[in-house]
């Protein structure tokens, strides 16, 4: 007898993934959740559970909650506050999936629940600002630059003195002020100085810089482009990746943004060019592109072709780099959205091992996690505790340099290290040597 397959939000299917694609194949949300055999293997890998060991904080508990909702045994309306907390607290790091015997994509399940409950994780002002990146990139760029300029003239300091940043809607300004670098360069001017064209005549690859590389870490974008010098990249600075909408916003927006990227990619040399990113979060997300289009088979085929071409910058590192002159311990921080395993992380690790040899400290981060991709803006207190744990791990390993796989993680890690362990600093892997 076929099972009755419940779904989360039958009235608005387009706001949800119709199928979830994981290592174990394509499954609808109910099947995917039901494959959790409640063995609990995930618990000790979840940074949240380790902070506060309760079932509501464990990936097993998250999956069971979703299953109970789908089976109609729990009402999402009456228990909304608890579910909202479960969703907001999840760092989406995917460590649970790595530990899981059945490779259950719990992070995806949490995002589906977030979409069903219409939870806005980010403060309204930040959400509105970041939404503009997809809708009106020029306006977004203008707003960011104005914000940065105001910051340089001390506007945020004034707001802080006026206690304005104590309002929940603007509390993120305080964190952003501490997190983001003091000196700001324009990517355009840097590229112009370095005589790097945004659209080369014969592009050898397409490069989609992460948001942080465009606005806050232009050196990262510059060095990435230099690494790609043998394959002159077509640089897409104004194009939204859809990652923000996928994690914090509307799935339809995310789908549209990815569709735009697929189209752009297909336009250049019939979609044969590698599509490079500098952020592991972005890489993991774009690899998931086919999942967004499971309801549209032809689009999914295109998305499949696109996803195959997505590569992380680590794949362009020299195969035999000259050993680094640095003789200080280096630590690879693997935190990433959705998953921390796969070829991108492996090739990064291999590269660092060739570069730093014995100075690369083997640390598996069983008890620490840099909360990635804006988690600090949504769950400030939890991010602080997780950050402190990370600093402890870095201190235990005596590492002087922490190498991250995304610019945002580098910023977050530096923020944490500055406070708790200033002897170390974090850099993106592109800037590792």
């Amino acid at each position: 007898m076929p099972y009755k397959k419940p779904c989360l939000d039958p009235n608005s299917p387009k706001q949800h993934l119709s199928q979830i694609i994981s290592e174990m194949g394509t499954r609808d949300i109910y099947s995917s959740v039901s494959f959790c055999s409640r063995c609990g293997s995930c618990q000790q890998d979840c940074p949240l559970y380790r902070l506060d060991p309760q079932e509501t904080n464990s990936p097993r508990g998250r999956n069971q909650a979703l299953r109970l909702i789908l089976e109609g045994k729990l009402s999402e309306k009456t228990n909304r506050s608890l579910f909202a907390k479960m969703v907001e607290d999840c760092t989406l790091c995917g460590k649970c999936t790595r530990a899981c015997a059945g490779k259950i994509p719990t992070a995806e399940h949490m995002l589906e629940l977030q979409r069903a409950l219409h939870i806005k994780r980010l403060p309204f002002s930040l959400q509105t600002l970041l939404q503009q990146h997809a809708k009106h990139p020029s306006l977004f760029s203008c707003l960011v630059r104005t914000g940065l300029l105001l910051r340089r003239v001390g506007a945020i300091r004034i707001l802080e003195l006026m206690q304005f940043t104590r309002l929940p809607a603007f509390a993120w300004l305080r964190r952003a002020n501490k997190l983001l670098p003091k000196k700001i360069h324009s990517l355009n001017s840097l590229f112009r100085k370095a005589e790097i064209p945004f659209t080369p005549e014969k592009p050898g690859c397409i490069y989609l810089p992460s948001l942080e590389a465009v606005y806050f870490l232009p050196d990262l974008a510059l060095q990435t482009v230099r690494l790609l010098s043998k394959r002159p990249p077509l640089i897409l600075t104004q194009q939204a990746s859809g990652l923000f909408a996928y994690v914090y916003g509307d799935l339809r927006q995310s789908r549209y943004a990815v569709y735009q990227l697929i189209k752009r990619h297909a336009k250049e040399k019939k979609g044969t060019l590698p599509f490079v990113t500098d952020s592991i979060d972005l890489y993991n997300f774009l690899k998931k592109a086919p999942q967004l289009f499971t309801a549209w088979p032809r689009l999914q085929q295109k998305a499949n072709r696109f996803a195959q071409k997505v590569v992380f910058i680590a794949d362009f590192f020299p195969k035999k780099p000259a050993a680094s002159s640095k003789q200080l311990p280096v630590l690879l921080e693997k935190s990433a959205l959705f998953n921390q395993e796969g070829p991108a992380v492996l090739s990064s690790e291999k590269f660092l091992l060739t570069l730093f040899k014995k100075n690369l400290v083997q640390c598996f981060y069983t008890d620490a996690e840099i909360p990635a991709f804006g988690y600090g803006f949504t769950c400030h207190n939890k991010a602080e505790q997780l950050g402190l744990q990370t600093a402890q791990v870095v201190a235990r390993s005596q590492a002087k340099t922490v190498v991250t796989l995304s610019g945002l993680s580098a910023l977050e890690a530096n923020y944490v290290l500055r406070r708790f362990y200033p002897a170390a600093k974090a850099v993106h892997i592109v800037q590792a040597d």
Partner: protein
Amino acid sequence: MQLPLSAREELKKIVGPHNVRTDEASLLLHAYDCSLSRTRPDALIHVHDAKQVPAVLSVLYRYHIPFVARAAATNHAGSCSPLKGGVILNLAPLNHILRIDIQHGFAEVEPGVITEQLQQALEPLGFFYAPDPASQHVCTLGGNLAQNASGARCMKYGATLDHVLEADVVLPDGKEIHLSRAHNGPDWIGFFAGSEGTLGIVTRLKVKILPIAKHIKTFLVTFPSLEDCVQTVTDLTAKGIIPRCVEAMDKPTINAVEKFAHAGYPTNAEALLLLELDGSPARIYRDIASLETICKQNNAVQFIPVKTEASRQKLWAARRAAYSTMAQTAPNVIVGDGTVPRSQLPAALRKVQNLLTEKNVQANLLFHAGDGNFHPHLVCDERNPHQTQYINRILKQILQICLDEGGTISGEHGIGVEKRSMMAHQYDKNTLALFSTIKRAVDPENLANPLKIIPVNFSEKAPAAPVLPEAILQLSEAIKKARGPVLIAGRHSLQKTVPGVSTLSTQTLSQIEDIDLINYTVTAQAGVPLPQLRKTLAEKGVYTCLPADEGTLGGAFASGCYPDFYPHVTAIEAILPDGTAVKYGGKLTKNAAGYNLIRLFAGSQGKFGMVTKLTFKVFAAPVPVSVTRTFQPLEKNELWQRIHPAIDKNQKLWQLKEGKNAL
């Protein structure tokens, strides 16, 4: 059922308002464990301080509210399901390692400490904690004690009960007691191990830690049949080689695991052994030569020494991935846990394989070859009730096969609710009645994890006790008919005549019934004199840790003078003060089914009944003689004061105030 408002308020005062949850979502999220059992509690309490536990249990006792302690909830038997509702006590936040003392070789921990976390803390200090359940990266030490968990190293180092030195326990009425192996009397810690939270809650543990073996050699050996594989382990034991780990897999499991983990397991093998030796380099070097010879004598196809630590880790990771190979094929994996005497392992496995083929069920078969403990991994989808019932029926048939081969329904996972009904197949009415008496004595209100372990209607379903042999029957009748106090006497106690006390001697029980050179066990009656026992064993080329004292076997066991002997005892038969005979265990290395009667009678100085027969492990090489304690009167702790009057209602059994080492 809702908690009374006043009870809720009192609990909130103890643990804080945020730690008492009664919302539907929190309750349903604490209604399950790794088994298929799922029952909703009435409230959830997060315990953040061990000192809160007695106060919480006192409140629950006053209001007659049942409770279930829970930490990681990773067990496969449904031990954490609150079958009568009530309160779930989440002990997972009690996860602190309190002290590590490498000088005296112990660690003090809270019950929520993850087993692997303790291992990680000990490793830099050059020490390790021996029990290594496959789920050690998620299971807790408190849970390990509650289920008497063990693992691959069990054959050499034993299960959890042998590695806990002290424990702080809170009884169901909130009374705190301290259990220690240094105390005279029954081995209360051993007895408490495997009780699945039905007798109380552990709030602090002191566990034994051992220095890490500096030299470990790992071997992968393939065989043309499972029989050869098991025979190899038997021959190794006969030669006096006790490997650190002996893990075995059948062909379907090898293929599944290799396909999943690519660890280098030879897929053409019918069966394989993963063996590890540890100790001094000289000892290992000597053992390797014998090991290779024995393997080749048993038709080993390949004998592969594992050369690097990375390869070794890969092989073990693949072995642990057996669960994952099945978890990826279906939503639910049911992990069986049957144990048979090692000699019966090939027969049991053959029967299980035939059953699985006949029923057309896909399963992985893994086994700890040294212990006769095997874990069939079966899959189902609990959304399909018919399929789930079908798989459950097959699992019960597998457990019945274990029982038919003289085994037990649980080696290390416990009984919980999933295997509760099978207890009536393993034990007779008298033994189950004793379990029930013990539970009632310690927990008269039936509040601590109620309805677990003991089958509900065992008096109807369990078989009657077997007919006793003439000699034992006479003793049974004598105890039953005795009106005044009775002194159960071995050889020493006979010389002590107490006015007004009748003496019941075990002299008529003087047979060594069985010397099993495959399982390396001896079954002997309690009245066998120790010198005769040692002499007979030496003639057969086997050894025990008991000294050639003047006493008897039963006396050595019950006097409390030879605590090192307790871990070697695998089965016991005894007559209770009301004349009923009980039987527990078999020729088994592990048994996690029911309350551990061996450890209850050990050192009890005949106050719970007369031990009539013991089965114990022997060794192919001489073993150090047990450390002897002087005979001391029993320490009557709270458990004693509750259990003893319940078993010996008329205070019939007399106890010597002084005596010699062996009674």
